[in-house]
């Protein structure tokens, strides 16, 4: 695929167009996103030193970070680190998901010591335990938690979520010694919505084959959004989208595939590269470090806390989350529709090992895709090491199977 691809992660489509100077501008932006995504805590530390403002960490997936932003802090969604688990071995058992083990490991290594607080609002049992480990080993670090309703189809779900978010707002205000005005919160919501819309535009361009972003690059766009100063990120995004729209690429003839899963941590870049090196192109996903993060905007109303509560409840209808109990949301049906919407010819399900929500739902997803005759491949991913050669063989086989299904369907 060429040195340029290996060095810059640029999809071959972009090379063929010969848009050298515009490519430079886009590459510079993507390079910035990649650098931030590659070491989010370093970015946050530098930002704190430069601005003198506070940094609030948060865990995936459901914390309304606009609250922290409106209070003047930099909200940073804590990421899985790349280093092997060492100190964390004495805190979390090996049968926990890689994200939780990594967070505990980072905490014990003191990586979070510069944070001014951690705020989170979730239900995953493993994450609750990990948060307690962080609290135990970093007693000076305020960790604020309010648990949201997890059964979204109960009558009180919206009112209770509103109450939880009012409490979170109060917690942020007390912690930072500020008052978060309605105007400030609305401004944050507007800014974050703008960012989400821009990222969704990139997704639209990718489905149409008009932007040659690799899966790696798209992940960098999303992951950097989780940790960067949102004004900075949005400004870069504006430029990136403008360049992409002005210079549409030709659609690739690689086989389009959809990636699903990884509800909390980013898939390893090497895995994404491997998938696209087998003759596929990722055209859609429901990854947390992907479409799941940007699918839903917060309504812009004159009651921003209520709007955040509505966002929390409603987003499950857009991209169902298996950690929520919601009788009206069917993840398998959503995936079938979304695979069709994106034009993918097969789905690769990335299951983070020991992710219980995903383990519960996977059999239904598999049954649904088998019944629909759409090629499906499950890859179980781990934090420390993965059998990439074996994965490569399985992805190659999956591609052959998908192509055969396409031929049969066409005939």
């Amino acid at each position: 695929m060429g040195l340029t691809y290996l060095l810059f992660g640029v999809h071959p489509c972009m090379q063929r167009r010969g848009v050298h100077s515009r490519m430079e501008s886009m590459q510079k932006i993507l390079g910035r996103f990649a650098a931030v995504a590659g070491d989010s805590l370093a970015y946050a530390r530098e930002w704190k030193e430069r601005t003198g403002r506070l940094v609030i960490g948060s865990f995936p997936m459901h914390f309304p970070i606009e609250l922290a932003h409106a209070a003047g802090a930099l909200p940073v969604i804590i990421q899985e680190a790349d280093d092997p688990i060492t100190d964390g071995e004495g805190a979390v058992f090996s049968f926990y998901c890689g994200y939780n083990r990594s967070v505990a490991d980072q905490a014990l290594k003191g990586r979070f010591n510069f944070l001014d607080a951690i705020m989170f609002s979730d239900h995953c049992v493993q994450l609750l335990g990990t948060a307690d480990i962080v609290r135990w080993h970093a007693p000076e670090l305020p960790i604020l938690f309010e648990q949201p309703v997890s059964s979204l189809d109960m009558k009180w779900a919206l009112d209770e979520t509103r109450a939880v978010y009012e409490m979170l707002k109060k917690d942020v205000e007390e912690l930072l010694g500020v008052t978060v005005s309605k105007e400030a919160l609305n401004a944050s919501i507007t800014l974050y919505n703008r960012g989400r819309r821009l990222m969704r535009r990139l997704y639209e361009l990718r489905i149409a084959g008009n932007v040659g972003l690799s899966a790696r690059q798209m992940l960098h766009v999303i992951k950097s959004a989780m940790v960067m100063d949102r004004e900075e990120h949005t400004a870069l995004l504006e430029e990136l989208v403008a360049q992409a729209e002005a210079n549409p690429t030709q659609a690739s003839n690689a086989m389009p595939v959809y990636l699903s899963g990884h509800l909390c941590q980013a898939p390893k870049l090497e895995l994404l590269d491997l998938i696209e090196e087998t003759g596929t192109i990722v055209v859609g996903d429901d990854l947390y470090h992907g479409y799941r993060y940007i699918a839903s905007d917060v309504p812009e109303t004159d009651d921003p806390v209520a709007a955040l509560a509505n966002w929390y409840i409603d987003k499950n209808a857009k991209v169902p989350c298996p950690t929520r109990a919601d009788g009206d949301a069917d993840w398998d049906d959503f995936l079938l529709r979304d695979v069709q919407r994106t034009g993918a010819e097969g789905i690769i399900v990335l299951v983070a090992k020991f992710c219980e929500p995903h383990m519960y739902y996977y059999p239904e997803i598999k049954d649904a895709f088998d019944a629909a005759g759409i090629a499906l491949l499950k890859l179980e991913t781990e934090h420390d090491s993965m059998p990439f050669e074996a994965f490569k063989t399985r992805v190659e086989t999956f591609v052959e199977v998908a192509r055969r299904k396409r031929s049969v369907a066409a005939a």
């Binding site: 805190a91 049968f95 049992v125 480990i133 209770e160 090992k353 219980e356 519960y360």
Partner: protein
């Protein structure tokens, strides 16, 4: 005739004089409890014939609400434990695995879900002989008319019932009670108290009342709040007697062990609140009082007092009871037995029991942030004069293995030894007996060395 002698003369209970002599000196009154449990299961298996609606539920001990409304109930965990204790869980778990449920998932859930799958398909297909002991045990479970989930702390517990709901094609109505975690981050937070606790009690109470509306909707009958008060009067008294009996185990030797309390989990968790339950716990308390007076221990030659942390390994109850007793170790208390069920009966006002019930549901030990839970564990260990901790690392129950390293960290600061051993709640394949043997031996030797040095 005393309650104790009534056990041996009751024709329903046999005493096998040819059985090998066991090292653990189990409380005899627990056999009275076996009758209560057997009657519960028999009544459950006949529920449909009797025209009763059946609720499948998971999570905290909400059966008094069902009992007051004259519906039958099945606790999914209890059913999984029932199968595991009889070693019938294998086929149900295999059914779950062949459907694609990973072995690393909660084995309670896999067993129960596998059971639901088998009920739907395999018994109808004749793959299991419905007349075999396994077939009979598995096929007797009545299918649900309603599903209710009320799971403190554990997200997997909530998802479990969502999966059951989906397995029944969403045709069985489902209701969720959210029992939120008490993180304890506010300035006024203390163990089970403070503004966070007050708010959560009110929130859970609202949901419990809404749950009764759900039952009314699906049974067509009015809810009898007086009956709930009556049922709770027996539950409250039973809980008080149980706690009083447990308190007597501060004696040396301890008159009862963790394993005596384990076999009474069913009673305090999901047995009907009746006078018979009160009499059972009274019998337990009387026998324990008698043992204290006579200096009789649950382990005849008690040398070590241990605390069992984690979920119970239901496949290995008797096995583990004997193992510790054979090493002269009395497991005196545990998180699951001593911190998990109706621990705060004083909070229940029988004229308006719901807030007190909500208080107790929130008191699930896992539901309190680690500093508070561990503070309570340390307090119990001091109370019962515990020498060391036995940490059961239940592979598929992360709700219970969370914070176990922190518990040990605290124990060591309090000069208590600790060991970890691998196992699981209902999947026997995760249990490693030789590891436990080695580690237990090593820990007890280290206790001996320490004592020798002090002496």
């Amino acid at each position: 005739m005393s309650k104790l002698s009534s056990i041996t003369s009751n024709p329903k209970i046999s005493v096998d004089s040819t059985a090998p002599r066991m090292r653990s000196n189990r409380i005899k009154a627990t056999r009275l409890g076996s009758v209560i449990v057997n009657d519960y299961w028999s009544d459950l298996f006949a529920a449909k014939e009797q025209g009763k609606k059946v609720i499948w539920y998971n999570g905290t001990y909400i059966p008094p609400f069902f009992h007051a409304h004259d519906v039958a109930w099945v606790h999914g965990e209890a059913w999984s434990a029932y199968l595991a204790a009889r070693h019938h869980e294998g086929d149900a778990q295999a059914a779950g695995e062949s459907r694609g449920y990973d072995r690393e998932l909660c084995s309670y859930a896999r067993t129960h879900i596998g059971q639901a799958l088998m009920d739907k398909k395999d018994l109808q297909d004749g793959k299991i002989d419905a007349q075999s002991a396994k077939g009979l045990a598995i096929s007797q479970l009545p299918l649900p008319d309603m599903i209710i989930n009320a799971y403190p702390y554990c997200s997997s517990g909530q998802q479990w019932d969502e999966m059951i709901y989906r397995l029944f094609d969403k045709r069985v109505p489902i209701f969720h009670v959210n029992v939120p975690m008490l993180w304890g981050g506010r300035k006024d937070a203390t163990y089970l108290a403070g503004s966070e606790m007050d708010e959560k009690i009110a929130y859970v109470s609202r949901q419990l009342r809404a749950m009764t509306d759900f039952m009314v909707e699906h049974t067509g009958r009015k809810y009898d709040w007086d009956r709930l008060g009556e049922v709770m009067s027996f539950i409250k008294k039973s809980a008080e007697l149980r706690l009083e009996a447990m308190d007597m185990c501060t004696a040396t030797p301890s008159p009862a062990s963790f394993f005596d309390w384990i076999v009474t989990i069913a009673h305090v968790n999901f047995m009907p609140g009746t006078q018979r339950l009160v009499e059972f716990f009274q019998a337990m308390k009387d026998e324990i009082a008698e043992r204290v007076a006579n200096g009789e221990g649950a382990v005849p030659d008690e040398k070590y007092r241990l605390f069992f942390d984690g979920m119970m390994n239901w496949n290995k109850v008797g096995w583990l009871a004997e193992k510790f007793a054979a090493n002269n170790a009395c497991v005196v208390a545990g998180r699951y037995t001593h911190m998990s069920f109706w621990q705060e009966p004083q909070a229940i006002d029988l004229n308006d029991p719901v807030p007190g019930m909500a208080h107790n549901y929130l008191a699930c030990p896992n539901n309190s942030g680690a500093p508070y839970m561990i503070g309570e564990i340390d307090r119990l260990c001091d109370k019962f004069k515990i020498d060391a901790m036995v940490m059961h690392v239940s592979r598929t129950c992360r709700g219970m293995t969370n914070s176990q390293h922190l518990i040990v960290d605290s124990a060591r600061k309090h000069d208590r030894a600790a060991l970890f051993f691998e196992g699981d709640v209902a999947d026997e394949s995760f249990y490693k007996d030789e590891l436990l043997n080695t580690r237990l031996e090593a820990m007890l030797e280290s206790l001996d060395s320490k004592r020798a040095m002090v002496a």
